[in-house]
């Protein structure tokens, strides 16, 4: 028992460390992020002044980088749902140290994604018209509904399991930290003292939420795909689109989670809790979803390519041979095949390997969104020369600003809120110590530990 409490103390100390100590490097990072965000805001002010004419978009390719980034961010937001809800439902114990990070990525990615839709509007001053005059016939309204529901649900789903940890912060930090922090933790902990009734309510609430959030998450990326699939355009004309987008969303969500996990683990020295096991398991998930994506791509491209309806020939040509060929081939090989190879080969199945695979997947999935949006619009509808699109400096700047906002929100979050689900980790640890029954999952754990043991 003595060792257990020592273990618990060490866990709490690790969880508290980011909040209590802040170095110069942190402020340097925040400075860089704020600078990039500021540059993006400047670019947006230019766009507000002159209109969307400062972008590369025109009548024939009327959506571009912004909409691609919107789809990408909404995809990333599936990190939280997958890890916390799906793995919670399937009772995968190894997930506990990474849930908090995953859930926060969800919330931040949704905020960033939604802002890119507003950035893309020709009349952002009229954005409230969506609520005032909204029509249920429009896929955009489905999106507004799904994304606001998902954002609300994700914030609740981030907050509720965090209550005991906020109470821990309140108890440990009162008197040792600034007044606004003490006030924040006291308010957010909503009187948690860990008694039986409270625990029971908490667990019931989490159970309800994790089941509710899964269909919401699936619906979100399905209706995002319907923005495209509901139009009369050959490359987007696919009943598979919803499922394809959801799979891609979870795929990129896992990848971004692995990257953020690796960074936070290094910066805040979480090696004891976020171990090679978490990386290897998430790597397996990544490989599984890469396989699903390969399947979806084959099914999608083969059906178009076999029949070669009007426009399909043009589309496949621009994907495989012409304008989009470098991007598309990178996506297929670097983003779908390479991650599987990296994760499946024992030599590369390490933390570093999985992180490299995740970076490849993240870049490739952004490229995929970009190619879907732009190539879909590029197929000529009437007898005209197909248009071309290249993002301008304004678009790239706003894009960089969006990424900076994503990074900034996560950076600041780690300084205010517990990045490890302390109580859940402790509970799992206790359960493992008191009942070391050799389950199938435990055997898998051992296999993964030995596989990734070197790092």
């Amino acid at each position: 028992m003595a060792t257990l409490s020592a273990w618990q103390e060490r866990l709490e100390a690790t969880a508290l460390a980011p909040v209590s100590r802040t170095g110069a490097r942190f402020w340097a990072l925040v400075g860089v992020e704020v600078a990039v965000l500021g540059w993006g805001l400047y670019a947006y002010s230019v766009q507000l002044r002159d209109g969307l004419v400062v972008t590369g978009m025109r009548d024939r390719i009327s959506w571009g980088l912004y909409i691609a980034t919107f789809v990408f961010f909404i995809g990333i937001s599936h990190a939280g749902t997958l890890i916390s809800a799906i793995l919670r439902v399937s009772q995968a114990r190894w997930r506990t140290p990474v849930t908090r990070i995953a859930e926060f990525i969800t919330v931040v990615a949704l905020i960033c994604g939604a802002s890119f839709v507003i950035i893309d509007l020709g009349r952002p001053d009229r954005v409230l018209f969506v609520f005032a005059y909204g029509r249920w016939q429009s896929p955009i309204i489905w999106d507004v509904l799904a994304i606001t529901t998902y954002l609300t649900g994700s914030i609740v789903y981030l907050f509720v399991p965090m209550i005991p940890d906020l109470a821990l912060f309140r108890d440990r930090l009162t008197g040792r930290t600034s007044r606004w922090r003490a006030w924040l933790y006291r308010t957010l902990a909503i009187g948690w003292n860990g008694n039986v009734a409270q625990r029971r309510s908490l667990i019931a609430a989490i159970g309800m939420l994790m089941i509710l959030i899964i269909p919401i998450a699936v619906s979100v990326h399905t209706v995002v795909s319907w923005i495209f699939a509901m139009t009369l355009r050959v490359p987007w004309n696919s009943a598979l689109f919803g499922a394809f987008f959801v799979a891609g969303a979870i795929f990129s969500g896992i990848a971004i989670l692995i990257i953020v996990m690796a960074i936070l683990r290094r910066v805040y020295r979480l090696h004891e809790y976020v171990t090679a096991k978490q990386f290897i398991y998430l790597g397996y998930l990544l490989a599984a979803f890469a396989a699903i994506m390969i399947y979806a791509n084959i099914s999608e491209l083969l059906i178009h390519g076999y029949k070669l309806e009007e426009g399909a020939g043009f589309h496949l040509r621009q994907l495989f041979l012409a304008e989009f060929a470098p991007l598309f081939w990178f996506y297929l090989i670097g983003g779908l095949i390479a991650p599987i190879v990296i994760v499946l080969l024992p030599a590369t199945r390490t933390v570093a390997g999985v992180v490299v695979a995740s970076i490849l997947v993240t870049v490739a999935m952004w490229i995929e969104r970009y190619v879907i949006v732009v190539s879909g619009l590029r197929v000529p509808l009437m007898p005209y020369e197909s248009a071309d699109y290249a993002p301008t400096w304004v678009e790239w700047s706003i894009f960089a600003g969006g990424l900076a906002l994503f990074a900034l929100l996560i950076t600041l979050f780690t300084k205010v809120f517990p990045i490890i689900a302390v109580w859940e980790v402790a509970e799992d640890h206790n359960a493992a110590v008191t009942s070391p029954a050799p389950t199938y999952a435990a055997v898998l754990d051992i296999a993964a530990d030995s596989a990734g043991g070197s790092s």
């Binding site: 209109g51 009772q91 839709v117 016939q137 509808l381 009437m382």
Partner: protein, 360 residues
């Protein structure tokens, strides 16, 4: 499942209780049962209800509290949802301009016996040579641009040169098809683009939020966006705006051919019909079955049937109101192999201050 429930807690309305138990055991097997059992949870379905029964007493208490709390939650939830129906109205009153923008005419145009007119356009491709005969840019486009003060580079009626299957080309003047199943109309999130009783599709530029999903949805490439401050002549500022008369153009909104119903009601033919030197474009009313190119009047249905009329991309099910008579300008002496037409010009791009032009 139901029999089991009855056995556990006889005679109790325990739906909430057992659901709660299911949830509990699903979520955290390690919390409400001895830890040794927690490993079994992997299977998922089946075990919950029975597995939790031995610990009935404390749970029963929890169930009672839960029910009361549930009632409170339902009450609060109802309070939160109650204002939802009036929420759009509240936001509308907050964002709307003092006067509601004109949404087309309140009274549709009618025939003399009171039936609503159904505007249509018939384009006789036999008489269209892309204005190769008269020289210069297509006159229909020029007339439209000058009549509507359309910003560069918008060609609301655009003359495409289409390859013919056996070689050679034909010219296809293409206005908005005024679909009866308009894909653009369906996808608009705010109802800025809408169908009128007369069968035309209009855009309210005071409502449009510039999301451009209608441009993605239109299969005819007939929608145009004001990417910047639209280049229009100074006199456009004096015009009285309405969705039927989209002057002056507004930055950040979508525009297109409005089918000139305001002109038809005033007894004038649309600019493109007036502008065509070969009288290739007929405008009319399907309800009264009449159409004219300004020189002759035809019975629309008979004219369409006898000349093998077709619609653009009718296989998409958009049901256009614009019909074509097949041809390649032979009636005005055009050779199918004489290619090319002059580009359209916008006379006011230089006089319009503070505006920028862009490529299509």
């Amino acid at each position: 499942m139901e029999e089991k429930k009855g056995q556990d807690v006889p005679g109790l309305p325990d739906v909430g209780l057992s659901r709660r138990r299911v949830l509990l055991s699903l979520v955290a097997p390690g919390m409400d049962r001895p830890p040794a059992q927690s490993g079994e949870g992997q299977g998922g379905e089946g075990l919950p209800a029975e597995a939790a029964t031995p610990e009935a007493p404390p749970r029963a208490l929890g169930g009672k509290i839960g029910r009361r709390r549930l009632l409170r939650m339902v009450g609060l939830g109802a309070l939160a949802i109650a204002p939802m129906p009036i929420l759009p109205e509240l936001i509308r009153s907050a964002v709307a301009q003092p006067a509601e923008p004109p949404r087309g005419r309140r009274d549709p145009a009618r025939t003399r016996d009171g039936r609503i007119r159904q505007w249509t356009m018939i384009i006789d491709l036999r008489s269209c040579d892309g204005c190769q005969g008269v020289g210069g840019p297509p006159r229909c486009t020029t007339a439209c641009v000058e009549g509507h003060l359309a910003p560069e580079p918008m060609e609301w009626i655009q003359v495409f040169e289409e390859e013919l299957p056996g070689g050679g080309t034909r010219f296809v003047p293409t206005p908005c098809m005024q679909c009866q199943n308009p894909p653009c109309n369906n996808v608009c999130p705010v109802g800025a683009t809408f169908s009128t009783p007369e069968g035309t599709v209009l855009i309210d530029q005071d409502r449009c939020i510039g999301c451009r999903i209608c441009m993605a949805a239109c299969p005819y490439d007939r929608r145009f966006f004001n990417w910047g401050e639209p280049p229009t002549p100074p006199q456009a500022r004096l015009a009285d705006y309405s969705p039927e008369h989209q002057v002056p153009a507004r930055k950040g909104t979508v525009m297109k051919c409005d089918f000139c119903p305001d002109m038809a009601r005033a007894g004038t033919l649309p600019y493109c019909v007036q502008g065509c030197p070969n009288q290739a474009i007929y405008y009319g009313d399907l309800e009264e079955d009449v159409a004219t190119n300004g020189r002759v009047v035809v019975a629309a249905s008979r004219f369409l049937a006898e000349n093998d009329a077709f619609q653009l991309k009718d296989e998409l099910g958009t049901e256009p109101r614009v019909y074509y008579i097949p041809g390649h300008g032979e009636a005005v002496g055009r050779d199918a192999f004489s290619r090319g037409r002059a580009p359209t010009e916008w006379p006011w791009t230089e006089v319009s201050e503070g505006s920028v032009t862009w490529q299509r």
